[in-house]
């Protein structure tokens, strides 16, 4: 049986998704400030790692990694509303890439599984 990551198209699909997803979050006034960075390449690389994880691809992130990576953003006010907005942009990105609703649901479920770690709870 193929994994969700393989069904979605593997690494090339992640690369395509990063370009679309990053444009969406930068244009989304609710969350753009968390993604505005002088080093956009480094920011994009982090998003690639994030999208690889939620696509069910190879990753070794632990809950502790997620907490540490977002701790600074939590002190800047990162909350459930922002998390929801990211998931919403993620869904819109996948729809644009022709991913079906069942698969989008699976991706959203993986994202949901790290919500408490990302928000430092």
């Amino acid at each position: 049986m193929t994994t969700l990551y393989e069904q979605l198209g593997g690494e090339p699909a992640v690369d395509a998704a990063v370009d679309i997803f990053y444009r969406k979050v930068l244009a989304d006034g609710r969350i753009s400030r968390f993604f505005d960075a002088v080093d956009m390449q480094a920011q994009a690389a982090k998003q690639k790692a994030f999208l690889t994880m939620v696509f069910g691809g190879p990753n070794r992130y632990t809950g502790r990694d997620m907490r540490m990576a977002h701790a600074r953003l939590v002190t800047q006010g990162l909350d459930d509303g922002h998390f929801d907005a990211v998931v919403e942009n993620l869904g819109a990105t996948l729809r644009e890439l022709g991913v079906n609703d069942a698969q989008i649901g699976q991706v959203a479920a993986i994202a949901e599984s790290v919500r408490n770690d990302v928000l430092g709870r």
Binding site: V18, Y22, M40, T52, Y61
Partner: protein, 322 residues
């Protein structure tokens, strides 16, 4: 069993082990995050030996050429020597001459003491005799006899003050580098190039433009140089001359304070926005202070420029001395 040489230590590699695993096992501190080759946190540089397949996955051509690789993706079959990404070679350079094309800009030409391999568009850390060190971009291209730096005199800037006012021909500086990947590569020779920067952000762009022309780039190259006043267009003459000699090269100066009927009038940001509109599919190089290039790269990306086509060098100024 292959051996990794790292900062003078010889570390035996276990079968199937990555460089990152081996370094961590040996107690070496290396940044890392995703460990699957996506986040590029564990970037290091090969100094000798052959890199295994996949170790440079997803890196820009300029980084690949210089031997950078991802420690988490490298499972060497043979001996390898590697170093941290910021562990750069050092050399001495003697000041050959200094030009002052604008009241607050110095063009410094240096003769390197020995061979110095670099790519146009890269930067070096320049150190004064007492150790004060600042990064400066190279405006020269590797074929030039001398290295060239452009220094803007910053108010109360310790290093720029020294370089612009005290430095004289015959003086010796220490350079560490090169670093940076804001470089041309000839993978798509017909792609249009847009190069934009303010002030001495021009330096690396000049190198990139000359490098692209020398490598036979056939697509249009547009260089946008922004300044507050016409006097700040400190390479006006040389760039007009370059445009006369190369039909594919266009020089587009902009002057924030120019009269409205002057075609150069307006902010670089507006000039770049118009250039992006009429140049779909361009590769975009942006150089200058972060407050300039931050908004420019955001504009370019939201206008549809792909991330892989966005090459940015933000000049971060040191905090003022107290």
């Amino acid at each position: 069993m292959p051996t990794l040489t790292w900062r003078g230590r010889e570390l035996p590699l276990e079968v199937g082990e990555t460089i990152l695993d081996a370094l961590e096992r040996a107690g070496e501190k290396v940044a890392s995050s995703c460990r699957v080759g996506a986040c590029q946190s564990c970037l290091v540089r090969a100094r000798g030996g052959a890199l295994p397949a996949g170790a440079q996955k997803g890196l820009r051509p300029a980084l690949v050429e210089q031997g950078y690789f991802l420690a988490c993706q490298a499972r060497p079959d043979d001996d390898l020597e590697a170093a941290p990404a910021d562990d750069l070679p050092q050399l001495r350079a003697t000041v050959a001459r200094i030009e002052r094309p604008a009241p607050d800009v110095a063009r410094i030409f240096l003769e390197a003491d020995g061979a110095f391999a670099y790519r146009a568009g890269q930067f070096v850390h320049v150190a004064r005799a007492d150790g004060l060190t600042r990064p400066y971009s190279l405006a020269s291209v590797p074929g030039d006899a001398l290295l060239e730096l452009h220094v803007k005199r910053a108010p109360s800037g310790a290093m720029s003050g020294y370089l612009c006012e005290a430095l004289a021909p015959g003086d010796v500086l220490t350079l560490r580098g090169p670093a940076g990947s804001c470089c041309y590569d000839d993978s798509r020779p017909a792609q249009p190039l847009l190069l934009a920067g303010t002030g001495t952000g021009l330096a690396p762009l000049l190198g990139v433009a000359r490098d692209a022309l020398a490598r036979g780039h056939t697509g249009a190259i547009t260089l946008l140089h922004g300044a507050l006043t016409a006097a700040g267009l400190y390479a006006d003459e040389a760039l007009r001359d370059l445009a006369r000699r190369h039909p594919t090269f266009r020089y587009a100066p902009s002057v924030l304070g120019a009269a409205p009927d002057d075609p150069r009038a307006g902010a670089l940001r507006d000039h770049l926005a118009r250039a992006l509109q009429v140049t779909p599919g361009a590769r975009v190089f942006l150089c200058g202070p972060p407050e300039t290039v931050g908004p420019l790269q955001r504009d370019a990306f939201l206008a549809g420029v792909k991330l892989r086509d966005l090459l940015v060098d933000a000049f971060v100024t040191a905090a003022p001395a107290r």
